[in-house]
């Protein structure tokens, strides 16, 4: 049983009993879909369908549908990829790292954060496949499969191959971790359900019996998976950053990238969790579970990671100057003052300046301000990847090949497609899966019968 300090704010407010928790969470799963949810789903599926036109056109006609060219070989595709992967970092960080650090406040948000991770990684993983010239071959040629082509094997030197391993490992571990956590809650819903729903949730809950031995195993597995997932939080974005760091292009060839990318990923992941949870708690009336306290804690993580990212930006500039390498110096001057200056300064404003507002307590405890800033942060993080990828490539070593990149409707359409996919999946999750880990959160409800009226 949870022992809560009398001077520390309770993590769950509203004097919830264990029954209240079950009821509050299961209510969404059992009730009729709300109008807001239906409208949300309609918009998401609409975006998905609209975006799929761009996806189909790309697959049918070729990558030429995008704005890429001889000099800029990656732009929105890999920007979106890194952006979504970054967003996908928060879930595992919250559920695994914070589990190991015994941060109990994570319990209210880890379920949704993990779901977000999985959906974000699905969106991210789409890009490495569709950005290929020949995805119908590349989708499996990039795997080290035994083959009939003789001694043909993948190139283990290539960071892109490391990406394949990193992303797929991360995705599978996250998925298992998430699902293991869902099992007791599915059982809860199963126990309350009747008819066809009972069968479905029964199957999903893998015959959970709630025995002490089952709980013990559950706890062990969760801890082991947390241990496995923790290094992945660091490794995935480190490896993604190797795509750039191991290359020879000025602006990419930078050893600071791994920590800088990981910090950026956590930064954007927390921002995305905030954007989603602020809406979810309102719509599903979960204010007692996801409290201002949660939001404030997450905002503090954003200040820290935002500052790390800011320092990384400044360090890059310093090193460019300090290296004395003309091409490197130009790459950075060009970022700030070249034709894409607006992207750079959008990035700086959104990522470095705006999170600093969270030093002000009033802002970091304001729902509206947090919601707006969380979106601003994700805009900034998208620009960060755009700046790294496009402004480094568009003016590299030989001035004869310097070009501009302009996105086409297909670039925008595919980005829209991933939004549609992400929100469709998230809305389906929110409706049919328990959005808060009931089983876990019950462990932090005050045990005394005194109702806390806070």
């Amino acid at each position: 049983m949870q022992v809560t300090s009398s001077i520390r704010e309770p993590l769950i407010t509203g004097g919830k009993t264990l029954k209240d928790i079950t009821h509050d969470v299961s209510r969404q799963v059992e009730g009729k879909p709300s109008l807001g949810w239906l409208i949300g789903l309609l918009v998401s599926v609409g975006a998905l369908l609209l975006g799929s036109i761009a996806l189909a056109a790309t697959l049918w006609e070729g990558i030429g549908m995008w704005g890429l060219n001889k000099t800029v070989g990656w732009a929105w595709d890999i920007t979106n990829f890194v952006w979504w992967v970054g967003i996908g970092h928060a879930g595992t960080l919250i559920s695994a790292v914070l589990l190991l650090f015994r941060q109990k406040w994570r319990m209210a948000i880890n379920r949704a954060a993990e779901a977000m991770t999985i959906f974000a990684v699905i969106c991210a993983a789409m890009f490495p496949v569709i950005h290929m010239g020949r995805p119908w071959l590349g989708a499996y040629w990039a795997l080290p499969l035994p083959n009939t082509f003789g001694s043909l094997w993948v190139n283990f030197n290539s960071p892109l191959l490391w990406d394949v391993f990193a992303i797929s490992t991360y995705f599978s571990v996250s998925l298992v971790f998430w699902y293991i956590g869902l099992i007791p809650d599915f059982a809860t819903i199963r126990d309350r359900a009747t008819g066809f729903r009972k069968v479905i949730y029964g199957a999903l809950s893998f015959g959970w019996d709630g025995a002490a031995r089952t709980w013990s195993r559950y706890e062990s597995v969760a801890l082991i998976l947390a241990g496995l997932a923790t290094p992945l939080v660091l490794s995935v974005h480190t490896i993604v950053s190797f795509d750039f760091a191991t290359s020879v292009i000025p602006g990419w060839h930078t050893t600071i990238f791994p920590p800088y990318f990981v910090a950026g990923a956590i930064f954007s992941g927390f921002a995305m969790v905030l954007s989603l949870m602020i809406v979810t708690r309102k719509v599903f009336k979960l204010e007692d579970y996801i409290t201002i306290g949660h939001i404030e804690l997450m905002n503090i993580v954003i200040i820290i990671t935002g500052s790390i990212v800011g320092i990384a930006y400044i360090t890059e500039f310093f090193i460019a100057w300090y290296s004395g390498v003309a091409a490197e110096q130009y790459a950075f001057i060009n970022r700030a003052t070249g034709p894409y200056w607006w992207a750079y300064w959008s990035m700086m404003t959104c990522n470095v300046i705006s999170p600093q507002l969270f030093w002000i307590k009033k802002i970091r405890t304001s729902i509206i301000a947090t919601f707006i800033l969380s979106i601003v942060v994700n805009i900034g993080m998208w620009f960060e990847r755009f700046v790294i990828i496009v402004t480094s490539l568009h003016r590299d070593y030989l001035p004869s090949s310097w070009v501009m990149f302009y996105p086409t409707w297909a670039d925008v359409g595919i980005y829209l497609f991933t939004f549609g996919l992400f929100f469709t999946l998230f809305l389906l999750f929110a409706k049919f899966f328990p959005v808060i880990n009931m089983a876990e959160i019950k462990s932090i409800v005050k045990s005394s019968s005194v109702r806390t009226n806070k």
Binding site: G64, K70, N155, L160, T246, L393
Partner: protein, 1028 residues
């Protein structure tokens, strides 16, 4: 059981105890029955089942309908044609001044590639872009497939009967043609002319040099075009003559010029080249000293030079308005110091200017050395005066019949519109043009000629120099060689082939004493492609004097013209527009502006700044150009080096009956040409106004950044005096600090290196010789089936060329001010840097490919495996040279690209494809392969001949085409190779990293240690000191 005493014999054999029987008696089955195995090699039961299975499968598969590809096997294989083995035939290209003796490569009876004929004393193995690309015109769908009468398809019998009858009865027939340098063709035309009562042959050239011919007549008394010997000139002064790109015989001149631009420590000397011109021409871009002048000053500049030289050399000076022209005095001084070894030329078509030029060369003693009137050349014979008279006559209805022999004056003569009207007034009009162009679509009879690759012909480009053309493919269509038509219409019985041979027998056979049998003489000439009659050059003496001309020049030119002047020029790729329907040429970036698929008004940079015009990437403005009364709206390109007060416009565009590729591209500048005293004038100095409109225009340039930003790791250049002091002049040699000392970047590496076996291929590119002409780009495109992508895709920055020429302007900007460094100087120095795959030994592309689709060969090549490529484009991103090209779309067999990329789309166009090179699929990366198919074929040849490869067995397409030998390809492991000697590769070089002693040789981006196999030699300008 009771013992049975009886013995039953199995047979009589048992009774007689035969050995064979006894041996097998105790076996139930005889050993030879195929039961267990077939150890003895006979067919087994399993074999039987296998055979049966196969038969059934094969029979059922055979029953399916296999797709029938139109591959028709030879019933009787021609002796000379072996599938996959190319045949080579000597032939000749000539069109409007551009002459090249060729070796035509044919595969399975199809010409697919043209290389220069190395033994030709004229083009000396060089070609240019137009010649290279001309093979595609053979497979152009626009070609007429048979004769036409009044735009209706007809047959030759009908046409011949009508043409013969009508021409004979027409009265006052004129035969209009571009310059003909074929002696036999001239004779057939003469026969035709005689047969119809003396038809006059009128020769004109779209770009006329009649001024030079007329000046020769005035000054020397003989109306000829002289031969120019650039290789003997130490000082070259050119007034607006683009002799490396478009003027008279550019391939020959480029070849000769390049010989004076090769320098080494042993011979640190090169020619000095002054250029005075309005537009920045490719030649001007190569000049050591270039001065922009207004067209209206050009005559006075020539006269001022004459006066400066006459004052020293004892000639008569003529009064002339004073004109201030930078570098002119310096040029005069140096010309005088190099008498007999200097050359002054002018691109003007004004005979008065050319007379003064003759007088200058005469005073300098160049007559007979660098300018040779005793051995005239015949590249241009057009007579503007006659042609203008013809236009006047045809409009006045004084002409009864007209025959256009492979010329298109309705399009490419200044008064084309008048000719179009006039054609309707003649009784009979005939054309032999290959396509239904602007002229042939107006005539009654079109008797389409063969393409030159289907024809027999002979050529006489220069006095004493002859060459032959032979058919390299049987005629694709129901066309007929024009000379054959002339013979038929003249009533001759002979074929043109016999006629040609007969002509050679009577004209040339006796000029040699090597062989006594004509057939042998003919075979040798045909095999060589060329035949030369030795000759001497001598100075011919002047009969005229330049006083009249000088007075005319002083009168007609203007020292300080105020108005805007239009200088009309021709582009290196499109030329006069004859080959405009060739997508390779349309997509070839102009050497200077790097624009494809368009013509445009080039305006001075300062003018653009004053008028608020800025080119942003591929966006530019449009201008309203008014000349006299006519107005035209066209895009504008800001051109550094364009003389203030002038604008430039290229000929060759604005065609409307060229074909699907060229129609509607650009504007036609021919109607703007002025006719002055019967001479076509390309400099319009009066009545020109240019006003910017508010419209913007997307202009497809392959390079939009003008300067190299002071990056000496990209371009390394110096001047000749500095080079003489220190052969390392201009070199940037990065050193990296490691373990207490500064070392070369190549000494620091994570890599193990490669092991090369027999060969290590490499290349050296001499930036001092490269003139930027783009022949390499087109040669590579032909050789390697490089796709054409069209204007929109060039706008999208997706051109596919495997070798490009980077053109950089110098900047006046402060090196620390990066924004200022982006701006070209007002009159910049220009550097050309051919850029292709560097075949790095530490290739950044190879490490990043996830599927190992790009790998290193055991001979130093960086190879692309198209089949394996999944198209992540990581390699292209990581290529610091940006030479990798991605197939963004399916460019072959795709209706979206059917027009621009017809070599990969229609059946006819596909005949030009090189069968040794894959046509790349959508979604794969491609790039320079260092012509691996040529290397392979060279290796196989050597192997078949059981010998070691020797230098020269293999040459890559770009190096072979290069008219200035700027590109040298070879085996760096062969100590004898030209490349090894040029670079002076150290014998103690590590096995894979070559170290060189040649001071000028450098790697682009040496400091990132990609360790390329391509070396560049520094650009050395022959200037007294560095200046922009």
């Amino acid at each position: 059981m009771k013992e049975n005493k009886k013995t039953y014999w199995k047979g009589l054999e048992q009774l007689t105890n035969e050995t064979d029987f006894v041996k097998n008696a105790d076996q139930e089955f005889p050993g030879y029955l195929p039961i267990n195995s077939n150890e003895e090699g006979g067919p087994s039961r399993r074999d039987f089942l296998k055979m049966m299975g196969f038969s059934i499968a094969a029979a059922s598969l055979a029953a399916c309908e296999a797709p029938v590809r139109r591959a028709i096997p030879y019933v009787n294989k021609p002796v000379d044609i072996d599938p996959s083995i190319p045949n080579y035939y000597a032939s000749t290209f000539y069109s409007q001044g551009i002459y090249a003796s060729l070796v035509v490569k044919t595969r399975e009876g199809r010409p697919i590639k043209l290389d220069g004929n190395n033994i030709s004393p004229i083009n000396q193995g060089g070609v240019n872009a137009i010649v290279e690309a001309s093979v595609l015109s053979l497979y152009d769908q626009q070609r007429l497939t048979g004769p036409y009468i009044n735009s209706e398809k007809s047959d030759w019998l009908t046409l011949d009967a009508q043409v013969k009858a009508n021409l004979a009865g027409a009265g006052n027939v004129k035969i209009v043609t571009n310059t003909i340098i074929s002696p036999s063709t001239e004779r057939t035309l003469q026969l035709l002319s005689d047969s119809i009562g003396g038809a006059e042959i009128i020769t004109y050239d779209p770009v006329s040099n009649y001024g030079i011919i007329k000046a020769a007549e005035i000054f020397y008394g003989s109306a000829v075009l002289p031969s120019y010997n650039f290789d003997q000139a130490d000082i070259i002064v050119s007034f607006g003559a683009d002799f490396l790109g478009t003027w008279i015989s550019p391939i020959e001149f480029a070849k000769d010029y390049s010989k004076t631009r090769k320098i080494s420590k042993e011979r640190p000397e090169m020619s000095r080249h002054y250029q005075f011109e309005s537009n920045l021409s490719m030649t001007g871009a190569n000049a050591d000293y270039r001065t922009p002048i207004k067209a209206s000053q050009s005559g006075l500049a020539v006269l001022a030079l004459y006066n400066a030289i006459a004052a020293q050399a004892g000639g008569v000076s003529y009064s002339s308005p004073a004109v201030e022209i930078n570098h002119l005095d310096k040029a005069a001084k140096e010309l005088l110091a190099n008498r007999g070894r200097s050359l002054v030329i002018s691109g003007s078509n004004d005979p008065n200017v050319q007379v003064v030029v003759n007088a200058i060369n005469d005073l300098l003693g160049n007559n007979g050395t660098t300018v040779d009137f005793s051995n005239p050349s015949f590249y241009k014979k057009g007579n503007d005066v006659n042609m203008n008279q013809f236009v006047t006559d045809i409009n006045a209805g004084r002409i009864g019949g007209v025959l256009f022999y492979n010329c298109n004056p309705v399009y490419d003569f200044a008064r084309g519109a008048e000719i179009a009207e006039g054609i309707a007034k003649v009784k009979v009009s005939v054309s032999t043009n290959e396509t239904m162009d602007e002229t042939s679509s107006l005539v009654q009879y079109v008797a389409p000629d063969h393409n030159y690759l289907e024809s027999w012909n002979d050529f006489n480009p220069k006095s004493g120099e002859y060459s032959l053309a032979q058919p390299t493919i049987s005629p694709l269509f129901d066309t007929r060689q024009a000379q054959e038509s002339f013979l038929i219409w003249a009533g001759e019985e002979t074929t043109y082939y016999d006629f040609l041979q007969e002509n050679w027998r009577t004209s040339f056979f006796d000029t040699q004493a090597v062989v006594s049998d004509f057939q042998q003489f003919w075979d040798i000439s045909l095999y060589n492609g060329i035949y030369s009659i030795p000759r001497e050059s001598s100075a011919i003496s002047a009969v005229g004097d330049p006083s009249v001309a000088a007075a005319a020049v002083a009168r007609t030119y203007n020292a300080a013209g105020e108005g805007t002047e239009l200088v009309i020029y021709t582009k290196v790729g499109i030329g006069t527009g004859t080959f405009a329907n060739n997508p390779w040429l349309q997509e070839m970036a102009d050497p200077i502006t790097k624009v494809t698929w368009d013509n445009y008004l080039t305006v001075p940079q300062k003018w653009a700044n004053d008028n608020g015009l800025r080119m942003q990437e591929n966006n530019t403005g449009m201008a309203n150009l008014t000349i006299g009364g006519t107005s035209i709206v066209l895009p504008v390109v800001v051109q550094p080096g364009q003389a203030m007060g002038t604008v430039g416009l290229a000929l060759g565009y604005g065609r409307n009956k060229a074909g699907r590729v060229a129609d509607g591209i650009g504007v036609n500048a021919y109607p703007f040409l002025e006719v002055t005293n019967g001479f076509v004038n390309y400099d319009i100095t009066e009545g020109v106004t240019v006003e910017l409109t508010s419209d913007s225009y997307a202009i497809a340039r392959t390079q939009t950044h003008e300067t190299y930003m002071g990056r000496d790791f990209v371009v390394q250049e110096s001047t000749l005096p500095e080079y003489k002091d220190d052969a390392f002049a201009g070199r940037y040699r990065p050193r990296i600090y490691k373990d207490g000392e500064f070392v070369e970047p190549s000494n620091i590496s994570l890599w193990q290196g490669h092991k090369y076996g027999q060969h290590h291929w490499g290349m050296a590119i001499d930036m001092n010789s490269c003139i930027g002409c783009g022949a390499c780009t087109i040669a590579c495109q032909v050789e390697n089936n490089v796709a054409v992508v069209g204007k929109q895709e060039v706008l999208n920055r997706r051109e596919m060329h495997w070798i490009r020429i980077d053109r950089y302007y110098s900047s006046d900007g402060d090196p620390d001010d990066l924004k200022a460094m982006e701006k070209a100087a007002e009159n910049p120095e220009v550097v050309f840097q051919p850029m292709t795959c560097q075949h790095c030994n530490n290739a950044p592309c190879e490490t990043v490919c996830p599927v190992s689709a790009t790998t290193h060969s055991s001979e130093g090549l960086n190879q692309m495996t198209y089949n394996r490529c999944i198209g992540t484009r990581y390699c292209a991103n990581n290529c610091p040279y940006k030479v990798r090209r991605f197939n963004w779309f399916k460019y072959h067999d795709n209706k979206d690209f059917a027009v621009v990329n017809y070599p990969q789309n229609d059946d006819l166009g596909k005949m030009v494809l090189n069968p040794d090179v894959t046509v790349r699929a959508r979604g794969v990366m491609e790039k320079c392969s260092l012509c691996v198919q040529r290397i392979q074929s060279g290796k196989l040849t050597a192997k078949r001949e059981k010998r070691q490869m020797v230098d020269g067995d293999v040459n890559v397409a770009c190096a072979a085409a290069c008219p200035t030998d700027a590109i040298v390809f070879g085996d760096m492991r062969n100590p004898e190779s030209r490349l090894t000697n040029l670079l002076q590769i150290r014998e103690d070089s590590l096995s894979f990293l070559k170290e060189v002693n040649e001071e000028r040789a450098y790697h682009v981006l040496e400091e990132i240690n990609t360790s390329p196999n391509i070396w560049y030699l520094t650009k050395i300008r022959n200037k007294d000191k560095s200046e922009a």
